[in-house]
């Protein structure tokens, strides 16, 4: 499937079907789909999958900041040069998205990363454990949120490091 065909099928799927979406073409090879209803998300993904529209290339989390009070989750599907992006908005406190693992097995690490970096709860995730962060990472601390301060965690830990009985704080 080439890029143009893929984009065409994708826009047919998301625009002229029963779901409520807003689409945009920010760049010639990209189709940006804003989902207004969380319920539409899984059916659309299944639709993309059935149409064999690319593979899930990445999941990006975005923190729109405490002022907006929302997080955005982006799912990028790639076919040839085409990139179809599904955007979900979730509230900043208590965010949650459904897991894609049952449809797309390779979503697992991406969703785990989303969980620990943004604190987005992934509903029904098979392995909701840390992927990158250490196990002793403080709870409710999400490094990629805008209000996470670089250095707070690291200095706290560094004080704790001891060697040869000497305190070692750089």
């Amino acid at each position: 499937m080439n890029t143009q065909e893929a984009l065409k099928i994708a826009s047919l799927l998301v625009e002229e079907w029963v779901w409520t979406t807003e689409t945009e073409r920010p760049e010639p090879n990209r189709l940006d789909v804003k989902l207004t209803k969380l319920d539409d998300f899984i059916p659309i993904v299944v639709g993309l999958r059935v149409q064999r529209l690319g593979y899930l290339s990445a999941i990006t989390g975005l923190d729109l900041g405490p002022e907006v009070g929302e997080l955005e989750v982006l799912y990028h599907f790639c076919t040839a040069a085409a990139v179809v992006t599904l955007r979900l908005r979730v509230p900043r406190d208590n965010p949650s998205v459904p897991s894609l693992c049952s449809i797309i097995p390779s979503a697992e690490p991406f969703e785990r990363e989303l969980r620990e970096m943004f604190g987005v709860d992934v509903d029904k995730h098979p392995n909701p454990i840390h992927i990158y962060l250490p196990d002793d990472w403080p709870v409710d601390t999400y490094p990629l949120r805008k209000d996470f301060e670089q250095g707070t965690v690291s200095t706290a830990v560094r004080r704790g490091v001891k060697h040869d009985g000497k305190e070692n704080n750089g």
């Binding site: 920010p26 790639c78 690490p109």
Partner: protein, 399 residues
């Protein structure tokens, strides 16, 4: 063996912390029901440095160098992906000469990376002579990269808006000469990995992944291409100078470890061809365009083909001199998933083969297995013990 009695309940087998290894450390936790793997989870982060957060606090220029240092093996491709993305956002045209030099460096990097991998994999399989010779010849590329860029590993060829270094005739000749030598050697190595009986018995038919599996599991790069999945960003979605210098895709059908060796080695020939072509038809012109320090607001997605597969960048700018968000998805994580998913439903005894099959360096990361049962009974297993278990298991099956 003594493991027998433990085998009949469900328990979790976390394979391996990391090992002072060349490759990055990782760690698997495998849940087993009797003999069948029911779940496997990969745990990364021994090399997690918090880059995605750090980029938000540094300016666009500083970030170039930090992103370049995500990984020392394919540093240039990270920097290229970032530059292409930022230039796209800023709406800046990069001169064709600079684009060509970027691609040339990327292909040199691919050569170094594939040589490195073949060498390490050979060492892993216990064939040190191949490792030594491959790494000896790899020095040829390293020298070329060093004379070209001034550093052997993190070349820093890119700057936003272009490249730092030019190539003169003398350097071009040195590259051509180096490639001639490497091409001859590569032919020889292709012969070794595809025909040496002793080596084949460690690679042939091992870690097989079918085409469908590779496709569904979202594998990328040579791992996918060794299973006949035509996924190569250079071909599917050309970027930079790949429009003018199209690459050909290299596919293998068998999907086993041998195929992964062969794909990588055959890709080298493709790189040699591209580099020669670029050297012969290097467009003239400037090396850089001026970049604004502040980048226009916007978002972009940038995909490039790293030596290990598709590298994905998502860049969002808020109009200041620092990025709002950069998301990096490296190829390794995609292929990692395929391992984790592939083992489910297989015998525990097959796990090592599948892991080793995907990327032999896993076996060097993971040397220890800790049996952690619910009653608090802990036991350490080596990677090898697991392998041994596999061997014993099949011996019993057959006798």
């Amino acid at each position: 063996m003594m493991e027998k009695k433990i085998m009949d309940e469900t328990f979790t087998v976390p394979i391996g912390p990391q090992h002072p290894a060349l490759k990055e450390p990782s760690h698997f936790r495998i849940t087993v029901d009797g003999e069948i793997v029911t779940n496997a989870v990969v745990r990364l982060g021994y090399a997690h440095r918090g880059i995605e957060k750090a980029v938000e606090g540094r300016n666009w220029i500083q970030n170039l160098y930090m992103l370049e240092r995500i990984c020392g093996i394919c540093s240039h491709i990270h920097a290229t992906a970032y530059c292409l993305g930022v230039e796209q956002l800023a709406g800046v045209e990069v001169p064709p000469r600079a684009q060509a030099i970027r691609v040339l460096t990327a292909e040199l990097e691919r050569i170094h990376s594939h040589f490195l991998w073949v060498g390490v994999a050979a060492h892993e399989a216990g064939f040190d002579t191949l490792f030594m010779y491959i790494w000896r010849d790899r020095e040829t590329v390293m020298d070329l990269l060093e004379t070209l860029s001034g550093n052997r590993v993190n070349y820093s060829v890119n700057i936003l808006g272009g490249v730092k270094f030019d190539i003169n005739e003398e350097q071009a000749d040195a590259i051509r000469k180096g490639l001639d030598y490497l091409e001859e050697r590569t032919n020889h190595y292709l012969d070794v990995v595809s025909n040496d009986a002793m080596f084949l018995q460690r690679t042939s038919g091992i870690g097989v992944m079918t085409r469908n599996q590779a496709e569904v599991l979202g594998t990328v790069g040579p791992t996918a291409r060794a299973s006949n999945v035509a996924r190569d960003v250079r071909v599917e979605a050309p970027y930079g100078a790949y429009f003018d210098y199209p690459a050909n895709i290299v596919l293998e059908e068998r999907g086993d470890l041998t195929a992964r060796f062969v794909v990588r080695i055959k890709e080298l020939f493709e790189s040699y061809r591209l580099i020669r072509l670029i050297l012969d038809t290097l467009p003239s012109g400037d090396l850089e365009t001026r970049m604004p320090r502040r980048i226009k607001e916007g978002e972009t997605v940038c995909r490039v083909e790293a030596p290990r597969g598709e590298l994905f960048y998502f860049i969002k700018s808020n109009g200041t001199d620092m990025p709002e968000r950069i998301k990096i998805r490296t190829p390794t994580i995609c292929n990692m998933t395929s391992v984790v998913k592939l083992v489910i439903g297989h015998q525990l005894a097959d796990v090592p083969m599948i892991l080793v099959g995907i990327d032999p360096c896993f076996s060097c990361n993971d040397r220890m297995v800790i049996l952690d049962r619910s009653d608090g009974y802990k036991q350490q297993w080596t990677w090898e013990a697991l392998r041994q278990h596999g061997i014993d298991y099949y011996h019993e099956q057959h006798s």
